[in-house]
Structure formats: structure tokens, C-alpha cells
Point group: C2
């Protein structure tokens, strides 16, 4: 369903993993008045359950469209060597100071570059001048492609890459969570009405989609909800198993 | 088959379309001593016959491996609006001065960025520090993502994007044909033993794979072969139809 306001809103492409961060970013982009075209990726990630979460979140937050791009990565041996694609164990119950030591085993080679390149192609097709993604400070100590200088370099490259750039319609990469803590992210999301029970962050979910509660991603969000005096709704006992 | 020399050669990723330019680049990278991992893309392009050419060329020029990545672009509406993906007619029999007027209808949004992003991911997996691609002067008057400043920006971004970059192993993008004419490209390729009858450049081939002889790509290579006193072997009458 579209309305007058949506018809006249500028379009943005929003990378949506189905996790807590990207859900918050989608809410932020919506609140800024963008018609949001959500883009998710199926790259044979261990936690394919996050794509179901992405679908729920896109609907919940009123995305103008939602695309899931299948990346043919396993047959190519791309993205190998990451715990997220099943080649290495996911670390459990690590204290926060160990989480940020070096490049994490969940690092996926050039992942954000591949994702942003698709977003760039889609932005050009949709005449969208804005791309949103949910990288943040907690990540960028470890993932090279979550750092501000990387994002600035991608934006500079993108503006040389496209017809829009050549014609003077510049493209902007927005990473509104870049300097925020998890607590700040969740606070903002709650303010904007994000239902975090719909999101999925766990690196190692059970086959029924339940978060493990012990990987870095689970521990980080649990701690943030606790700091806000709340329980992480993704870990609710009363949650139906087969969603 | 591998030999001692190949085992110790540094690895490079080579973008291989199956056309004249990328075949020449593969030969150049091989001549520079690289173990070449060729990478082609199946993006529902009208001339899927080029992938068969890419396979022939990879074998002919002794690539260490050859991968074809299927890009899920049609269902996403990515790469729409280009003559190469079937949405607009391919111009025929244009004089050279009209070919370079503005951004061509064969422009595919963000294509080189998507291709180079995959190459970057593969380079990191293979610990390759070099990526080769066959963009050249004839193209870069019209395609924004064939210009030297674009390639420099991609390289700068790539070195911020990856674990290798962070650890000080820099990645280099090589576009050896950048300032060459088609004549110079073919001369170099012939010198290196490239069999151009195996390549495919046509934007609008017949169902049996025969080049049309009238699109920009066909005309440009024909003219270059003629300038060298040769016939374009991709247009040979005696060539079997069903290859």
C-alpha cells in the first residue's frame, strides 16, 4: 500500500540483516521521511533464520519494498573461513574484553563491500541517493569494513562509479549508529517503536530459530537490555518455537 | 595440472568476460608470472554465449582456476535498464564518433563495482594481492566505472575493507589496457599467443553464438583487426556454428 506521502518521499536503500542494529536503522531512515527499500542477502549463512527476521522487520517498519539477494558464494568458495558461514566454531560466553581482540572469526571477507555494491546498483536503478546501514562502534574495533574511514572511501568510490555520480546527483552512505553504544541504539529504537522481539542477532541459533544466548551477539544485546532495566525480548521464554 | 613454478607463483584474480580485452589481460597477467584465478559472471546477460567463450579462454591461457558467479540480479531488478540485459535495443552500425557520445545504453548500473567486490572477496580468500581487469580507453569515455579515477578510488576503498589491508598486505588493481587502443591490445595479445577466435565481444549474437558484426563491440574489434591487416577471427565464415 502506498500513500501520497510515500509517493513523494525520496527513496533510500537500507541494508537489513534482520538484526537489532539494522532494524533500528530502518526505523531511523523511515523517521527521516525516506521511502525505504530494504535489501537482505542470502549467502548460505549459518543463521538463515535471520532472513525470516528481516522479512518480519521490513513489514513491521513499513519498508516500501524488501528484496533478498541470493549470493552464489558457497560454490565459489567466497566468504569461506568465517564462523558465520559454517567453517569455524562460534565462540561462546566470552567476556567483552576478549570479543574485541583483533579481527573476529565471524569476519566475512569483503562482505560489506559486496553488500554495499548491490545497494549501490539498486540505488541507481531506483534513483535513490541514500544508502543506510547499521554498522556501529561495537563492531568496528574488529571488522575492517565497519570503520568510518572505510565507509568514507566507499562513498567516494560510489560517486565515481555511477551515472548518477557523473551527472552530479551524489550518493550518501549513512551509518547513523556508527558511534553509538548498544544501549543508545536500543533506546533510539524503542523511542521509534521498534519491536525487538522480531529481530534476530544470534550467531548460532537452534534449528527452531531460538537465539543461543551465549555467542558474542547474544551477550552484547542482553547486556544492553539489562543496562536499560529490560529483558531481551528475543530471549523470551514464552516465544513460540517455530517462527 | 600444476607445476613447481605455478605452486610458487603469486596469485591474482582476473575478471574474465570472454571478450577480447579480458582475454588479453589474462595473457598479460600470466606473462607477468601470476597464477591466475579467473572470475566470470552470469548475470542473465543477453549474450550468455560469452560465458562459453570465457571457459575456452581460461583453458587456452592456462588459468589456475575459473569460477562463474551467478548474480541474482533479474529477480531483484538490479542491472535493469541496460541493453546488455535485454531491456533496450542494441545500437547497430554506428560510426565511432557516435559510440562515445555520453553514457552508452549498454551501461549496467554499478556493474564493475559489483564485479570488483566479488574479486576482492575472492582475492582475500586466496591470499591474492592483485586483481586484473580489462577496462580500456575506448570504454572509459562513456562508462563511469571504467575511468582511472574510479579504479583508484576502488583500490583505496579495498585497502581499507579487508583483513589483508589492515595487516599491511596491500591490494593492487591492475588495468593494463587502460590507455591502449584496440589495435595495441590486439597486437599485445597476438605477441602473447592469444587465439582471438576463442573470444566473444558481440552485444547481440545470434542464438548459435555468431557475432552480429554490426554492434559497437563488433565494429570496434573489426576495425582494429583491419588496421593490423587481419581479419577478425571471431567473424570467420568457416567457423562452426554450434560452438
Amino acid at each position: 500500500m502506498t500513500d501520497q506521502a510515500t509517493d513523494h518521499a525520496p527513496s533510500a536503500v537500507v541494508l537489513l540483516s534482520g538484526g537489532l542494529d539494522s532494524a533500528t536503522v530502518l526505523a531511523i531512515a523511515r523517521a527521516q521521511g525516506f521511502a525505504c527499500h530494504a535489501l537482505s542477502f542470502d549467502y548460505s549463512q549459518r543463521h538463515g533464520v535471520e532472513l525470516a527476521a528481516a522479512r518480519r522487520v521490513a513489514t513491521h517498519l513499513g519498508a516500501a519494498s524488501h528484496r533478498i539477494a541470493r549470493l552464489d558464494v558457497q560454490s565459489l568458495g567466497l566468504f569461506a573461513g568465517s564462523a558465520l558461514t559454517g567453517y569455524a566454531p562460534v565462540p561462546k560466553d566470552r567476556p567483552p574484553d576478549q570479543m574485541s581482540a583483533g579481527i573476529p572469526v565471524t569476519y566475512v571477507p569483503a562482505r560489506n563491500t559486496v553488500f554495499l555494491s548491490y545497494a549501490l546498483a539498486l540505488a541507481e536503478v531506483l534513483s535513490a541517493g541514500d544508502i543506510f546501514l547499521g554498522v556501529n562502534a561495537v563492531d568496528y574495533s574488529g571488522y575492517p569494513d565497519c570503520r568510518p574511514q572505510y565507509l568514507a572511501a566507499f562513498q567516494a568510490m560510489a560517486n565515481l562509479a555511477t551515472k548518477a555520480g557523473v551527472e552530479g546527483r551524489s550518493l550518501q552512505i549513512h551509518a547513523p549508529l556508527l558511534d553509538w553504544t548498544k544501549v543508545q541504539i536500543i533506546q533510539k529504537g524503542l523511542e521509534l517503536g521498534v519491536d525487538y522481539s522480531l529481530t534476530h542477532s544470534c550467531y548460532d541459533p537452534a534449528p527452531d530459530g531460538q537465539a543461543c544466548g551465549h555467542c558474542d551477539a547474544c551477550l552484547l544485546r542482553q547486556a544492553a537490555f539489562q543496562a536499560l532495566g529490560r529483558h531481551d525480548p528475543a530471549l523470551s521464554q514464552g516465544r513460540p518455537k517455530a517462527w
